[in-house]
Symmetry: C2
């Protein structure tokens, strides 16, 4: 149980072969149910495996099988953060999809840092994964070079606003922003503000704002004011930011938030300040945080197919086929706050 003791020699395939009185390759075949072997052999091998408590060594298996059909059974995943609920949901989808084919995932978190992402990609590739799933389309030149050179299937998820390396699964963040703006405009709101987080690092949030602002401008009602807080999105940040925004620009009739948790914070601000929603102020979020559906007034927001994106990413990873962009779209939830 203690790592410091020289690690006990574990049971190997050849131990099993000896115990079962058969050859190594026979054991290997039985274990992988590959090739032919008799029922009797199978039973004897199974018995020996159980008796010795044999655990196959996949490092060796993958090494030996590399460049062959067996191939590796690891998939590398790079996500920017675990703080935002989006990413656990994506992982959940991926885990589901991968399970189906018996792959295991090695996960690394980049903290929205492109340099770090590059390093992590290198580290993941060194495990010779069957494929890599990364987030977004923007990577350092070094990262792109590594991905290209790796020769494995690459899936870039979440964002479809731009050219991808191989498989791209997600939706258009710009279109999300645009749709949000159009919804607000359609409801008659004209003096619209924005509350957001950390746009320099979260490039997708930046694209949403760009789409949103462009649509407003095109309609002749440009974004009136914005309050952007550094750091990740959170309810507390949303509440504080909305307070500041309203103190500064008092005549806003609607606010678009970079994320539902920010919007929830904004909702709490209005509740505490006694501002009626959507009469005095309309709120519009992003991301279909489940919680927002349980609010007394369900939040008006955009729901993105996070789980599905993960599933499709996992699925496509195993499949062959040409490079491709899979746009899974998004859904506008009318809600009651805008």
């Amino acid at each position: 149980m203690n790592v410091h003791q020289p690690r006990q020699r574990l049971v190997t395939l050849s131990d099993v072969a000896r115990a079962a009185g058969v050859g190594e390759s026979t054991v290997s075949r039985v274990l992988r149910k590959h090739g032919s072997f008799s029922k009797g052999t199978q039973d004897r091998v199974a018995e020996a495996v159980a008796r010795l408590g044999y655990v196959p060594n996949r490092l060796a298996g993958s090494l030996a099988g590399s460049a062959n059909s067996t191939g590796p059974q690891l998939v590398g995943i790079v996500i920017p953060s675990l703080t935002n609920i989006v990413f656990p949901d994506l992982l959940r989808g991926i885990a589901g999809g991968l399970d189906a084919v018996g792959f295991q995932s090695v996960i690394a978190v980049s903290d929205y840092d492109p340099e770090r992402e590059e390093a992590l990609i290198g580290a993941l590739l060194s495990w010779r994964p069957a494929g890599l799933i990364v987030t977004g389309l923007e990577h350092t030149p070094g990262a792109v070079a590594r991905l290209r050179a790796s020769g494995v299937r690459i899936v870039e998820m979440v964002d479809t606003d731009g050219p991808g390396l191989d498989i791209v699964v997600g939706f258009s963040n710009r279109a999300v922003g645009r749709a949000s703006a159009e919804h607000l405009l359609g409801r008659g709101y004209r003096r619209i503000g924005f509350v957001g987080h950390d746009l320099d690092r979260d490039l997708r949030a930046g694209k949403r704002l760009a789409g949103f602002a462009a649509a407003l401008a095109a309609a002749g009602h440009p974004l009136r004011d914005r309050e952007i807080l550094a750091g990740p999105s959170s309810a507390a940040a949303g509440r504080e930011a909305l307070g500041r925004l309203l103190a500064r620009t008092t005549d806003l009739d609607a606010v678009y938030f970079s994320n539902d948790d920010m919007a929830l914070g904004g909702y709490f601000h209005c509740l505490a300040a006694g501002l009626s929603i959507p009469g005095r102020l309309a709120l519009f979020g992003y991301n279909g945080l489940d919680i927002t559906a349980a609010m007394p007034q369900p939040l008006s927001t955009i729901r993105t197919p996070r789980l599905r994106i993960g599933e499709v990413a996992a699925e496509r990873l195993g499949a062959g086929g040409p490079a491709e962009i899979v746009d899974l779209g998004f859904e506008l939830i009318e809600g009651a706050t805008a």
Copy 2:
């Protein structure tokens, strides 16, 4: 880019050695900064690596180095779910702690299914990880046998209410329940109900309730009623469950929730139903969901050191030393709802 093409032969260490005009072991030494070599050699190796775009194969490295100092650089993690915010937070802590030592984590999700957990433990062990981090203390006999036989460091996290296999990092869920009950009793609440999720599967939630109910009973004010919904915790479930509970048992003056998201749902129910908090009904949650701090009335709840648990788990994994229980405690947030 396409998996179907016979995977191109990747650059190997011996390619680098040839290109740099040195021996393989020299390249290996330079790359691992282990042993001695001249500056000139180092430069030539570095140049060749860069020129050829060499990516070391850690499968081979770990295999060759196994049973030796180099050892494996993977850590296996089994968590029951990604839906509950707790687990991403734990992962975040682990990722932080592991980064420091350059380990990579292979993550598997058991869906609160012990059989599945056992299978996943087997799968993870087959990667010959440096250690395994699992959730909770309850495992199938088969899982325990595998963990024991693996000879690697095991960390069981989150729960300290019982005997562990090796290292245990967490807090007492029973004590959490007890402390919650004592807080409510101390505030004068006497007719107390409970709203929870899926206790059969989430054993920790079950232990919290057990501690809570025991403390109430000991004080002579036994739990008056409970409403338990199948399925994972969520705000929507909390809202609905509270509604049902109150419809059935109208004289409750406080409700304990199995989770903050459930409690938030309960809060929304009160808001919508016009019940004053905590005058008409007090609410007490669990888990210090960040969002609850931004509520107009901050939720009274218990904050658990999730991030820290992950960090300590990762840290202990690499360290030697005897089996041990690390109780990181928890913090009661007074809030304004109870």
